[in-house]
């Protein structure tokens, strides 16, 4: 009997915490779908409306921000996949001269992420003429230490016999990579891809520093300008804008919950 009440209490507490955790988002949904005067009054029968979304869409250049973010995320991920695959393969299978030192130097980036070096990286971008370009936002992130590390670990688990078999079939060292290693690392690519896309969809500080026009600003920067208190836009419209900005990732997360959590787990534990 004592066990049962304990279980009920615990379930209640777990649910309560879950509700509490959903509250900020639920509140934003409430405000976004109701007229502004209802934003801080709770009335179950308040009329629903989509006008906040229409307003948000017209107040700020959301379509352009969406396009920028999609271009940015795609560009970074494709570059990361190529660069990290090559480097990860080098570290996993070629005991080349200086590889240990080089690997240590790669890992430095796990600590010193580009956002810590905004001052110098801005100077470099200015010298390269890449300030206010999407390439400028993406460039510092393309050679990802994290991706190199993850792929190196995965490639190391591939049995040597498979590689030798492919060599006998006449594959060169790039052929082996493409035919043997890459297909076997598919779960790692999925995990890394999800983490990378989430990270760069949400990234803010460096894109803020390096952009200064609508044509290059990603969603997060656009949202920050739009949602700043001094912009004078009312709460319902800000909520609508915020929901639009997070919707793609949120929907993807709700649909592929399991993959998302496993990816973050896989990527975190290494």
């Amino acid at each position: 009997m004592r066990l049962r009440t304990g279980f009920v209490l615990e379930t209640g507490a777990a649910w309560l915490l879950a509700l509490l955790w959903l509250l900020p988002l639920a509140y934003a949904f409430w405000a976004a779908f109701h007229p502004p005067e209802m934003a801080t009054h709770f009335d179950l029968f308040a009329p629903l409306t989509l006008s906040n979304f229409a307003k948000a869409w017209s107040y700020a250049p959301f379509p352009r921000h969406f396009l920028n973010t999609i271009m940015l995320v795609t560009m970074i991920l494709s570059a990361q996949l190529v660069l990290c695959t090559l480097a990860g393969y080098a570290f996993a299978r070629f005991e080349f001269f200086g590889s240990n030192v080089a690997f240590g130097l790669v890992l430095v980036q796990l600590m010193v992420m580009p956002e810590v070096l905004i001052v110098e990286n801005y100077r470099i971008m200015a010298r390269l003429g890449l300030v206010d370009t999407i390439l400028g936002i993406g460039l510092p992130y393309m050679a990802s230490a994290f991706g190199i590390f993850l792929l190196r670990q995965t490639f190391k688990t591939v049995p040597r016999e498979l590689e030798e078999a492919a060599r006998i079939e006449g594959c060169g060292f790039l052929g082996v990579l493409w035919r043997v290693y890459v297909p076997l690392a598919r779960p790692t690519y999925l995990a890394y891809g999800l983490v990378s896309v989430s990270y760069h969809w949400n990234n803010f500080l460096w894109p803020l520093v390096v952009t200064n026009s609508v044509e290059t600003r990603p969603l997060t920067v656009g949202l920050a300008i739009f949602g700043a208190p001094e912009s004078g836009v009312d709460w319902s419209v800000i909520s609508a804008g915020t929901i639009m900005a997070v919707a793609p990732l949120l929907v993807a997360f709700l649909l592929f919950q399991r993959q998302f959590m496993q990816s973050f787990m896989h990527a975190g534990i290494k």
């Binding site: 615990e10 777990a14 649910w15 915490l17 879950a18 509700l19 955790w21 959903l22 900020p24 988002l25 509140y27 405000a31 934003a39 801080t40 660069l83 090559l86 480097a87 080098a90 070629f94 080349f96 001269f97 590889s99 080089a102 790669v106 430095v108 980036q109 600590m111 010193v112 956002e115 810590v116 001052v119 110098e120 990286n121 470099i124 460039l139 510092p140 393309m142 050679a143 230490a145 190199i148 969809w201 949400n202 990234n203 803010f204 500080l205 520093v209 997060t220 949202l223 920050a224 949602g227 208190p229 800000i238 909520s239 997070v246 919950q257 959590m261 973050f264 787990m265 975190g268 534990i269």
Partner: protein
Amino acid sequence: MKHVYGWLLLTPAAILLIGFTHYPAIATLVDSFFSTGTVVRPSRFVGFDNYAALLDDPIFWQVLGNNAWFALGTIPTAIAIALVMALWVNEKLPARALVRMAYFTPTVLPMIAVANLWLFFYTPQIGMLDQVGALFGAPSHNWLGDPNLVLPATMVMVVWKEAGFFMIFYLAALQNLPPELQEAAKIEGASRWYFFRRVTFPLLMPTTLFVLVNATINSFKLVDHLFILTKGGPDNASSLLLYYVYQVAFSFFDTGYAATLTVVLLVLLALLAVVQFLLIEKRVHYR
């Protein structure tokens, strides 16, 4: 041959890594010994002048202290909540998938959006917190305008954002614990609290250390919310080191001093790297 191939494969990534991590890190150090150049007075070598200015800068000490409080306030709380979440979600709870989703959702939201959502919790009078407080007769607070309340207010938000992320690591670790332990404890008649204290928690120690180090590193990089909520104010009461770097470099245009502040940040991160390395070494010995 393998030397040539190895380096060829590494080169594209190496160029970018050197260009945007190693070179700027060293350039930061060099720049910290130079004054900020202006049109009339070009940048010149000033030795340790920037560092002397740093030691005399009350705002530097304030943001450094804020960073320490921020880390102390958010990390243990977030880890404790994450552990409880993981223990719950690991059990056969009704609607478990839903609960797990609720806990994890803040992780996929950008910090900017999170700050937007929380801004209206904290708004005086019409904000959610004050409305709920009013029901119980509590006075209205200016949560983000009061120097004593602003840092704790941002800390609560960060705990909310991070706990679900840390939960994932505990969950993974819990699922790898051998189920025989639980059965043995049942036969011995050990209470759940006893089992948790003497078996589960010690076995989760590597995970706790891993999360701890990563959370500490993260606490130096979490500044996005300040752009929406407080701009570091009032009177720098909520400002953090990286945000101050941003302000000095891009609002006050004092790049020499910004470089000096960045060096402090890099040194702190390097110290953390050493701690992490030692912990990993220890873990290897443990096995």
